[in-house]
């Protein structure tokens, strides 16, 4: 495993993982909690929106293909929200490597786009960048 400088200075960082795959949520949570970060989960965009409006997060990690509300729709709803959450950083994780999906992620307002399968190094590196943690 590549050595990764963990965002240890921000152990109070709260991250919301939004993915309908329980295994992906488990994998991300395992990595992030081992790095000392606090993790909350949602299974689709609707549940995620309820959580961001009632809790405080520093970053949302969101899948694209999900039932009820997909990741792009969630990010658009987030960016159009009048509350403070409209600027919450959003990291998209997806199996889609196509340029159209990248363009849509950008136009929806995502801050970055990671293609699955996720590596621990990439996940932690982008979490550190997007939460402003020292790295």
């Amino acid at each position: 495993m590549t050595e990764v400088e963990m965002p240890v200075a921000n152990t109070k960082t709260r991250i919301l993982i939004v993915d309908d795959s329980s295994l992906v949520r488990l994998y991300c949570r395992d990595i992030l909690e081992k790095a000392g970060l606090e993790v909350e989960q949602a299974i689709n965009g609707i549940e995620a929106m309820e959580k961001v409006l009632t809790q405080t997060f520093d970053l949302v990690i969101v899948d694209v293909n999900m039932p009820r509300m997909d990741g792009f729709s969630f990010i658009r709803a987030l960016r159009n929200n009048v509350a403070d959450v409209s600027t919450l950083p959003a990291l998209v994780i997806t199996t889609e490597a196509g340029s159209q999906d990248r363009d849509e992620a950008r136009s929806a307002g995502a801050n970055f786009y990671l293609v699955k399968p996720l590596s621990e190094f990439d996940l932690l590196r982008h979490v550190a960048v997007l939460t402003g943690a020292p790295r």
Binding site: Y27, N65, P67, M69, D70, S73, P117, S119
Partner: protein, 207 residues
């Protein structure tokens, strides 16, 4: 995205659009989205309307009307409906892919004859989405088709999708294939992690 109650669909046997349905067929091409939405809902029980619903879906831009058309196709639930929906698994639009897969998932019996071909499709994204169609199959059959896929699949994301479904519906018959897959993809950390969790789930639910 269609509103679907799993198992609630009843295939409709009405094969010819009667005089009562003719106005709804005409309304599918109305410039008024509300009229098209109402027409799609009204045609949900008419098997003979599949070709016009298919044509309407192809050109429809309004998400609410698209949802109503997909729901209508789901309510008809025959082979023609499935054939209409399958191409949307190849859509470049994430919402269309998600809507199509959710609709098809509600039709496990009608979809089953297509699953093997979809799992062998040349398009990685189609194979990946097709794993979701096994979710509503009988567990033994789902395990069989997904293990067949895992034995030959080279793309880690397709394997990950199959593992995800096996975690929910797989039987102990999947354990040797899962272990072999974890070894084959030892360099993709997510897969051994996901497979370990899946083996634990299957073992605990089947013990």
């Amino acid at each position: 995205m269609p509103f679907i109650k799993r198992g609630a669909s009843t295939p409709v046997t009405e094969s010819k659009p009667g005089e009562a349905t003719a106005p709804h067929i005409a309304a599918l091409s109305s410039p008024d989205a509300e009229m098209r939405w109402g027409a799609a809902r009204a045609l949900g029980g008419v098997a003979a309307a599949v070709p016009v619903l298919a044509a309407a879906l192809d050109g429809e831009q309004n998400p609410r009307v698209r949802e109503a058309i997909m729901t209508a196709l789901m309510r008809i639930g025959d082979e023609a409906s499935v054939r209409t929906l399958l191409p949307y698994l190849r859509s470049q639009d994430a919402r269309q892919r998600s809507a199509a897969i959710e609709t098809l998932q509600a039709l496990p019996g009608a979809v089953e004859p297509f699953v093997a071909a979809l799992l062998g499709d040349a398009d990685t994204d189609v194979r990946l989405l097709a794993t979701e169609l096994a979710r509503n199959m009988p567990p033994k059959h789902a395990t069989l088709v997904l293990c067949d896929l895992l034995k030959k699949e080279s793309h880690p994301n397709v394997c990950a999708a199959a593992v995800e479904v096996l975690a929910e519906v797989g039987t102990r018959d999947a354990l040797p294939t899962l272990k072999a897959c974890a070894e084959r993809f030892a360099n993709v950390p997510f897969l051994p992690f996901a497979i370990e969790a899946t083996i634990a789930r299957i073992s605990s639910t089947e013990s």
